[in-house]
């Protein structure tokens, strides 16, 4: 066996390890972000913050968790793509790229809220209730547009090409349908029930991505076990 032929299985194992780690990252991201979403529903009521909420540990913790979850999602999406790269096609690739952009912006918004809002509440309390910089609002809307378009584009190959079980595709479609409720709840006056119903949108999305990550990690592990010759075979 030539050196190049020996290197190929090692290279494949290395790639499958990277894909497995990436898929696990998506699995861990899902519950962390779901917890962050639920804490936010119960701590932040309505579109404006008040000084006490901005300085509360629950608000800071929810935003830090959301940042970590979104960053793990950025690490996880390449693995989810690579695991079924033949099935996703261009539509899935664009969808996953848009979802990565949305996760990057979400991590930015959450980290900004965790770092700056408590400080602003102390130094300039009158600014906490301000809707914020206009550019910031534009970026938030870009994120929402990327999230809804990315979710639909990711669902299409799942429903058409059966990249994964169909229920994941339906969950993604449900998530996209619920986005208007989520946005309406975020910008309307405080109603916990409405916010909870709206939060079903990111929760459905995260359950779908977490399931994709879990099946990707499991299948990669199975593939690795099959490709590794046993001791008896080697003997």
């Amino acid at each position: 066996m030539s050196e190049q032929n020996k290197a190929q299985p090692a290279r494949q194992r290395e790639r499958s390890t990277a894909v497995r780690l990436s898929c696990w990252s998506a699995v861990v991201a899902a519950p962390i972000t779901i917890i962050a979403v639920l804490i936010t529903v119960f701590t932040v009521s309505g579109p404006t913050l008040d000084v006490n909420t901005a300085q509360s540990p629950a608000f800071v913790a929810a935003n830090l968790l959301s940042t970590v979850g979104a960053l793990l999602l950025v690490y996880g999406l390449p693995g989810v793509f690579a695991r079924w790269h033949e099935g996703w096609g261009r539509t899935g690739l664009v969808g996953i790229a848009l979802l990565s952009l949305a996760a990057l912006i979400l991590s930015f918004v959450s980290l900004l809220a965790a770092l700056i809002d408590p400080w602003l509440a102390e130094k300039a309390p009158q600014l906490v209730k301000d809707p914020g910089p206009p550019l910031f609002l534009a970026i938030s809307f870009t994120s929402l547009a990327a999230l809804s378009a990315g979710t639909i584009l990711m669902a299409i190959p799942i429903l058409r090409r059966r990249v994964s079980p169909r229920w994941i595709g339906f969950l993604l479609v449900a998530s996209a349908v619920m986005y208007p409720v989520y946005v309406y709840a975020a910008f309307s006056s405080s109603k916990v029930l409405l916010s909870l119903v709206g939060s079903l949108s990111p929760i459905c999305f995260l359950v779908a991505v977490g399931s994709l990550g879990y099946s990707g990690a499991s299948e990669t592990r199975t593939a690795r076990t099959e490709s590794m010759p046993s001791t008896a075979q080697r003997a």
Binding site: E14, T17, L115, I116, P133, P134, L135, F136
Partner: protein, 219 residues
């Protein structure tokens, strides 16, 4: 897959070029990272920071392609290095976007906050995480390149140079404003952009070469 890897590698090339221009422009426009409310509101400041955030986002898209390229692998060390560099790029993008959106707004509504001697405490922690991630990530990627020889050795040396100069980059932000010191300090992130841009370019070229090989005919 090769199409996705090629696009990702091109993303690294374009991201590296945009980031380099933004870092150089920022070093000249805001030496020593010292700015007040008026400067934070200027169009130049906002455009430079938006360019920096865009470049860093494209580099984050490019790193999976840089990892997947080539026939030889990065190994566990290289994978950890690339993951840390991705974290550093995301933090750099965050800081640029924060400067473009928040600082320009604060400059108009509360310019006195720029004179406050006590900035938000967690921001310093984020800077420290960035510094550790860029140094450790560069060293781990360079080690993988030196050991496995899947890229020219000069790329590894450039990354070691980037790790060392990142310390100067942070020192330049803490010393009195000076354009030469800022330019020297900016070599830290710029050298990383050069290395990632080159790796992205070779990755895109190799993937194109593999695609260009004749596919087996139906017969």
């Amino acid at each position: 897959m090769s199409n996705a890897v090629r696009l990702s590698c091109w993303s690294a090339v374009v991201g590296a070029a945009i980031s380099t221009i933004a870092i150089l422009a920022f070093s000249v426009y805001v030496p020593g990272h010292a700015f007040d409310g008026a400067k934070a509101q200027s169009a130049g400041f906002i455009v430079i920071n938006i360019a920096g955030a865009t470049g860093m986002t494209l580099l984050v898209y490019g790193l999976p392609g840089v990892f997947a390229r080539g026939r030889e692998g990065w190994g566990g060390l290289g994978l950890a290095g690339i993951a840390l560099i991705a974290l550093a790029e995301m933090i750099f993008g965050f800081i640029s976007l924060m400067a473009a959106t928040l600082y320009s707004w604060l400059g108009s509504v509360a310019p006195d906050l720029f004179k406050d001697p006590n900035p938000a405490p967690l921001v310093s922690l984020v800077f420290m995480i960035w510094l550790v991630a860029i140094i450790a990530g560069n060293v781990l990627m360079a080690t993988a390149i030196f050991r496995r020889r899947f890229a020219p050795r000069w790329v590894g040396f450039v990354q070691i140079g980037s790790a060392v100069m990142s310390l100067v980059y942070l020192a330049a932000a803490l010393t009195p404003p000076s354009v030469p010191v800022s330019l020297v300090g900016s070599l830290g992130p710029i050298l990383l952009c050069v290395a990632l841009g080159y790796l992205g370019y070779t990755g895109a070229s190799e993937t194109r070469a593999i695609r260009a090989e004749p596919a087996p005919s139906m017969a």
